[in-house]
Symmetry: C2
DNA sequence: GTCTATACCAGGATAGAC
DNA sequence: GTCTATCCTGGTATAGAC
């Protein structure tokens, strides 16, 4: 069995087109969205979301005016307000929808193998590939979370701890099996998470150096593995 | 010679009180600041900066109104405007001043030893300790840089690459001396940087787990060392 | 040096025509 | 379903009294 997951394979596996995501969002928010025709609504939602992510990631969500947004999305102000009832709700919609997808995809990745080494590799690859496919969302989420109400901030922190937990659980199991050496899984988990996040936070850096996701993934796996593997005799 | 730098030692070495920083800033911006009495100006600048960092780090610089700021700083709107001529200039002042200090302090840390292992340890410790002393500024800088004009954004990226460079240079020298094994210093440098940044970006996480800077520093040094050290025979 | 009062405008939100 | 026109709050910035 090949342990490495290719980016292309991953992409076709999850099939996360903007359209799919927006359809899901539309169906889940049918009562708060005034538009009833699915085709129209989904199409416009895609444009609104893309525009919002683009503009926000340039200058921040708060600095993006709805006038800017309406131009970028190709809709009037009035039309925008048939899809959300306040700018703040738009923010929450974007974040919530993304969180759901991320959780769903990552959870599916641990399954199918029992070897902690393979699991770890899989999760690292899946996390990086996912953040590559949804880069604007990941960046947005990281930067705008602190502008939410405290209640929602907590949900974002929970989401971070959730993925970290997947990592530490694997490491603990590996320790018990004697595959990994004794170490502080909590700190290691946090460090891995930080390195994974760097990939979508510092796009300018890695793009400038012509580093692909797969290359980065293989580096991270190596970096982590060296830390975890038992002392050679 | 003891290779470890204690946090307390570092703190007294650099002596970076908010007052010192603001005095330096006052002296460097004498012509754009209308107030002439040094004592008055420095005192107020300290309050303005602290207030600005506090409020911005809660909800973002853009979302912080100058009315909020004037209340938090204990000055009237009119008084604020004798210290800077626009909200945007305030942003630039804060970021520029901080960058200068960081650069100065970090550059001083590589000196005094030739062993790459010690140098690396020193730089990691110094970076973490510095970001601990100036945590609000580091967080602010990370989050608000994208709201600057492109010209200033580039300066911030340069600053990031500058510290990364210090790391990669040490690693390369270590490789040449056979102390470190062959590896991609560029990726390793980026990863170390990411882990160092996590310390001031995820305060909530590390504070909740009761992890001290010194503990975190020793973890990072261990993590990195394991990656760099040559294969044992 | 600092305050209060005010000018002025940008942005979020909505009503009502089409 | 979508647009235009308009309301009104709350933001930055400044003038002039103290």
């Amino acid at each position: 069995m090949n342990v490495d997951l290719k980016f292309k394979t991953f992409k076709s596996m999850v099939s996360l087109s903007a359209e799919d995501l927006c359809r899901e969002l539309f169906l889940g928010n049918r009562r708060s969205i005034k538009i009833k025709k699915e085709g129209v609504a989904v199409g416009n939602l895609v444009r609104i979301f893309n525009a919002a992510l683009t503009l926000s990631n340039q200058k921040g969500f708060k600095a993006m005016s709805l006038r800017d947004l309406s131009v970028e999305a190709g809709l009037s102000m009035g039309a925008l307000y048939t899809y959300f009832k306040s700018k703040d709700e738009l923010l929450r919609m974007i974040l919530r929808q993304g969180r759901m997808v991320v959780k769903r995809v990552l959870q599916g990745q641990v399954e199918g193998t029992d070897d902690p080494r393979t699991q770890l590799r899989r999760v690292i690859q899946a996390h990086l590939y996912l953040s590559e496919v949804m880069q604007p969302w990941f960046y947005f989420s990281y930067m705008e979370t602190k502008n939410l109400a405290i209640e929602e901030q907590k949900r974002a922190m929970q989401a971070e701890l959730f993925t970290e937990r997947i990592l530490t659980d694997i490491m603990k199991k590996g320790q018990e099996q004697g595959i990994f050496r004794p170490m502080e899984t909590e700190l290691a988990g946090a460090a891995i998470k930080a390195v994974l996040q760097d990939w979508y936070l510092k796009r300018w850096k890695y793009a400038g150096r012509k580093i692909t996701v797969e290359k980065y993934a293989s580096f991270v796996v190596g970096f982590v593995t060296r830390y975890l593997e038992p002392q050679r005799p």
